[in-house]
Amino acid sequence: MTTIPHLVLDQVTYRYEPEAPPAVNQVSLTVPRGQFAAVLGHNGSGKSTLAKMLNGLFLPTEGSVLVSGMDTREEKHTWDIRQAAGMVFQNPDNQLVATRVYDDVAFGLENIGVPTQEMPPRIDEALRLTGMSEFADRPPHLLSGGQKQRVAIAGILAMQPEALILDEATAMLDPQGRKEVFDTVARLNREQGITVVWITHFMEEAAKAQRVLVMNHGGIEMDGTPREIFSRVEEIRDLRLDVPPMTKLAHMLNARGVPAAPDVLTVEEMAREVKRLCPSCWKN
């Protein structure tokens, strides 16, 4: 994988009020092109504020944010940045504008002034990539939460972004919807090379990312691969977060003297560990 910097934060601080404590404090961070980075953190850790600075919705109080080399503080770049770094929000009901899925996907294209005859192919492609083609004529209120989020993603994809920022996009969905949305985004990252910043508080989702960033008190406390991060169970717990269920299980086994690898993330890995530790427990 190439490591061309895509989203670059340099000593970024953000305060909601001039005198208030910073919501994001002195954060320096580089997300390379094509990376799938998950951001974890308990409520109020500053992860949402950080997300909103990645496409110029919030401008840093101090420091700078570069998106594809463009500084978000320069007004002439605002719309290019928002096109380059699309954002999906938490509440699936509050981000669709039009009364028909197809028209909603067109909304962003209309805003950036794409000529009318170029819109349909881009809309069709975006709907295809999110698996929403068959819902093109539906009104949004008749869709499930996961489908609404996929429409929101399609609306951004049509604008041909280079990065997707998802601010707890699965927080209000049921498990089925969560999987739909995660799989869609993971596939876009894999097949289209879109950089993804996935903000979440679901550990199983973070476990599937390439990189995990843990935020606390507006700063980045931990930064590494899911395996590195989640094997530090105690530290994670001190940050009022949890580890993926299988990592937790491995940790509990360790505490009871079973030498399971402490960096197990998924059920498959745990199954392999069980097989390794107790070959006779394993039938067939």
Binding site: R82, Q83, N94, T99, V114, T116, A152
Partner: protein, 266 residues
């Protein structure tokens, strides 16, 4: 209970009238209203009626839907008729019952005004029955866009209407949810006099408004994130185009005007 509200009265079938440009339909409706007021002799209403019947036939709307459209107006219609009949003064008395004299002019006025009202409502309901609210909004925006020169916010108005149409079902659903939640906690929305019921609405309306404002904030942020910056430099997915059908529709209206004006010239 709030579930099945339908927005507007749009009757979704495919017909030449449904396919007309919304601007054409809006202008034709205005012209039709003018035509109704131009009819000053009873037999001229036959032309108006003929035009209406033709429009309903071509639009493939069930006749009963058009007739039903005057139902909310029935009290006003009776009122108009009775007032004009009994209180219109004139020169030719038709007959007298006790202290009340019915004048010929009064009767004529009563018939005229009632018929006009009926045609007015029926004519404009063809517009709303054959045009979806979204298309209607598109049409109004395009028609009003020359007014942008005098700072009339045509695009903003249309965007507001679209968002309202998008969020009405969402808010209705939410109102339903809040209502059930309050009922579960002992709120009573159905009994009591008007005042008591109005007061019972407060615990429904307050959370509904709070949530609507939160939604508005979220939506504004999401729209900005999708590069929305007003109507300037914006292109459109749906571009309105005048087609042959529109020209034919205008020609039929011109024919109606000629028929109505002919008696004056002869």
């Amino acid at each position: 209970m709030l579930r099945d509200i339908t927005l507007g009265q749009y009757y979704p079938v495919d017909s030449p009238v449904h396919r007309l440009d919304p601007r054409t339909k809006i202008i034709l409706t205005v012209l039709f209203i003018i035509a109704v007021f131009m009819a000053d002799q009873l037999f001229l209403y036959l032309f108006i009626l003929g035009y209406l019947v033709m429009a309903v036939y071509v639009s493939r709307l069930p006749a009963r839907m058009i007739i039903r459209s005057i139902r909310p107006m029935r009290i006003l219609l009776v009122f108009t008729f009775v007032l004009n009949l009994f209180f219109g003064a004139g020169t030719t008395a038709l007959f007298t019952i006790g202290p009340v004299t019915i004048w010929k002019e009064g009767l004529m006025n009563a018939v005229h005004f009632t018929l006009r009202l009926v045609f007015l409502v029926m004519g404009s309901s063809i517009l709303t029955l054959t045009t979806s609210p979204v298309t209607l909004t598109d049409g109004l925006e395009t028609l009003a866009s020359p007014l942008k020169k005098i700072k009339f916010p045509a695009h903003e108005m249309a965007m507001m209407m679209t968002i309202a149409l998008r969020f009405i079902p969402t808010l209705v659903e939410e109102a339903d949810k809040i209502m059930k939640a309050q009922t579960a906690r002992g709120a009573d929305f159905e009994t009591g006099n008007l005042m008591a019921r109005a007061r019972a609405m407060v615990p429904l309306l307050v959370p509904l408004f709070v949530s609507a404002f939160r939604r508005a904030g979220d939506l504004a942020m999401a729209m900005e994130a999708r590069c929305y910056h007003g109507g300037e430099g914006r292109t459109r997915l749906h571009v309105l185009k005048i087609k042959r059908g529109d020209i034919i529709a205008f020609l039929t209206m011109a024919a109606l005007f000629v028929l109505l004006l002919l008696p004056r010239w002869l």
